[in-house]
Symmetry: C2
Subunit: 97 residues, 2 copies
Amino acid sequence: MADRLGATEREAALSELDGWEPVEGRDAIAKSFRFKTFNEAFGFMARVALRAEKLNHHPEWSNVYNRVDVTLSTHDAGGLTELDVKLAKSMDAYAKG
Amino acid sequence: MADRLGATEREAALSELDGWEPVEGRDAIAKSFRFKTFNEAFGFMARVALRAEKLNHHPEWSNVYNRVDVTLSTHDAGGLTELDVKLAKSMDAYAKG
């Protein structure tokens, strides 16, 4: 199982990510992605879904038309782990197309 | 553009759907779908996405692992229309596999 990140690791991880923010009151990170259309937003979600299934680590996310709001945390570990950082990095890459 | 449903049409439409509930404080309907796995949940979402794109009418939805929570309303019409009923019926059918 992935270990929960310590404060230093957490800070280092966040600095490598693009625009992810800590979530108030939870050991989690969140980001809102905007696309041009639903087609692009769901295309992004499909890529993330395949990656999530491969990592066996899944996002909490919502979608309204061209917007995808994502929260990442590792339930089994009770907070942020390397798995969240991996998935966040993939999402940043996919969002760039 | 689709017209907002009147009270009678709305009631008739809801009675044809499987487990959709009115949303408090909004002219919208909502349903929570549960699947066995993320694979099944996202498979459902992919089918709904294709249908939504064809109808040019999109859900507000969120997903956490095997759960998909959906809210339907027609923004342009300021409430529930025949488009929401069509999309809801398709979702009910897809959820049955």
